[in-house]
Symmetry: C4
Subunit: 191 residues, 4 copies
């Protein structure tokens, strides 16, 4: 029952995060397409973040299904993940407003990196509740391990070219958009 409440609370926070980002789109100063296009980088920024929060929402759901027993550690690891994700609207707005300047883009990658590392911690803590064979089937998710490396690289490359950073970040999204069949199979319910 408690995992349900953690799931409901997390869903609430994720739904708010994904929606309040839109509050950063200030009404354009003119009433023509030109005025709207000035918002371009903010909109691109928003699309990125919408997709990432969407991916987290989906993966988080899979992950929490594997919880056998709630405890304080899982709750605080989950809050740590939500903390980093709660900063996404801020970094999204900064990156968009700066038209993808180096530092805001690096910060964006850093927040995604910290989120991914927190997710990995939560993932490991939940795997501990299962025996080795289940963990072997599920746990060594290369995606969970690889994502932080890509985000780390995106932080570093932001000062060379934010196009490279953006490309690395998009790669992670593409990687996750393919659903993780192994978890679905192991859970035996098709997801």
């Amino acid at each position: 029952m408690k995992a349900n409440r953690m799931e409901a609370f997390s869903d609430g926070v994720l739904a708010i995060i994904i929606t309040i980002m839109v509050l950063e789109f200030k009404v354009p100063e003119g009433h023509n397409w030109h005025a709207l296009f000035a918002l371009g980088p903010k909109i691109v920024s928003y699309i990125f973040s919408f997709v990432y929060v969407g991916i987290y929402w989906n993966n988080h759901h899979h992950l929490l299904h594997m919880v056998r027993k709630m405890n304080g550690q899982l709750m605080w690891l989950n809050l740590l993940l939500l903390f980093w994700l709660s900063l996404v609207p801020f970094t999204t707005a900064w990156m968009g407003e700066s038209r993808f300047a180096a530092t805001p883009t690096a910060l964006y990658g850093m927040i995604l990196l910290f989120s991914a590392v927190s997710y990995r911690f939560l993932h490991l803590a939940i795997l501990k509740q299962h025996d080795a064979s289940f963990a072997a089937a599920i746990g060594n998710g290369w995606k969970v391990k690889l994502s932080p490396l890509f985000y780390l690289a995106s932080v570093g490359t932001a000062y060379i070219s934010t196009w490279i950073s953006g490309f690395l970040i998009v790669l992670v999204a593409v990687m996750w958009l393919v659903p993780d069949k192994r978890i679905e199979h192991a859970m035996g319910d098709g997801g």
Copy 2:
């Protein structure tokens, strides 16, 4: 179970969308009715959007009841629908602030158009989970097919007269406010 979570998440996002639109009503500068009436176009704009989001909430509920098996495709089509709807507060504010200028009104119609098309995709993906006779009874919903056409027309006519655009958009709302008896009958639970 997963459809429930998607439903809860969607409800959360829709509840936030419908409520944060009110944050666009800045406190009037005077303390009299005249100062309030200056907000008129924003309030009309808000009423429109409140009704559309309300309609989506209701239809979405009917639609998700028909889901037999959740999968990644449905989840992402649902997120695509929520993405377009999440832009409604922005376009509502712009249209209201511009007092129904042509381009903001056209954009408003476009966002409703993209939402309607996404809804149609979700609708088709869910119908695929049912056999032909059920799909024949339910699926060829003329409303789902007709709405995008009306929205498309409203985008085009915004540059002739935003009154025509508004009229077309209102027509869609009127069309949907009549509950879809066929789905209710087919589901056999009166809705």
Copy 3:
């Protein structure tokens, strides 16, 4: 099942309404108690609205428990109620910012009046699903009938003295803060 979803959606909207009102408290310009006290009227305004939305949340819960069969009419009457309540943060902010000037206070009473009338409509529609004896035991709630009259009076008296308006509005709150024993008894579950 559908009443559950309407309840969840309404709870979501009410939770957001009650919370975003706080966003109207701009950070004071100084760092002392004097700067904080300048927010006084806004805080009083907020306390009022917090209590009213709290009362609606509680009564709404009692009311929805009496729903036997969901239909489109109930859904739209419920959305009408949420529409008026969604304007509460705006009128709260205006009333507070104006330090209880006549027109903002009258508007505040009007929005509460329209909310109360919508609630009455929803109440009547739900009572129709029950037989006459149940309706006789429950339905002629004098509170539901009396509240709109008090709000109406508060609108009118705002131009004489907003203290009288405030007093009338407080009377309604006091009236509702005493829980309605009859519904609890009739439902037989103590509430």
Copy 4:
């Protein structure tokens, strides 16, 4: 059933409180780390509040599990708690913006104090539903009794040094971050 709805409503309000605090992070004026570091005190402020709201969310969950029978008193005590917590985003923003000036820091402690006292009232009201032995095992929670004293001290010391206030407030957080084993044991579900 009603406790469930109160829980869901409270979760919604807490999720919104924790997330809208981020809206106080205005986009920095420059695009470099220096501009970001100017937000430092706001971010520290936010981390504090995120942890406190997280602690309340967790404790609240334990507490509501002990409710045997919902009534109006519990509902209004719960709303009183939510009222004080709803002011946390405001005091967080003021404290951060003032870079921990004495009065904003004192107010921050006061809001936490009022929240803690409200929590204590709710705690006592729920314990009354249990017999003396259960109350003896659970009810005399030294944490619930001690927290208000620490907050009270933090208010007073803010005018000597906000470092002392901060230290006292951190002590309360540390105290709560250790999960209350007694409740978990008494409930016998480890959760």
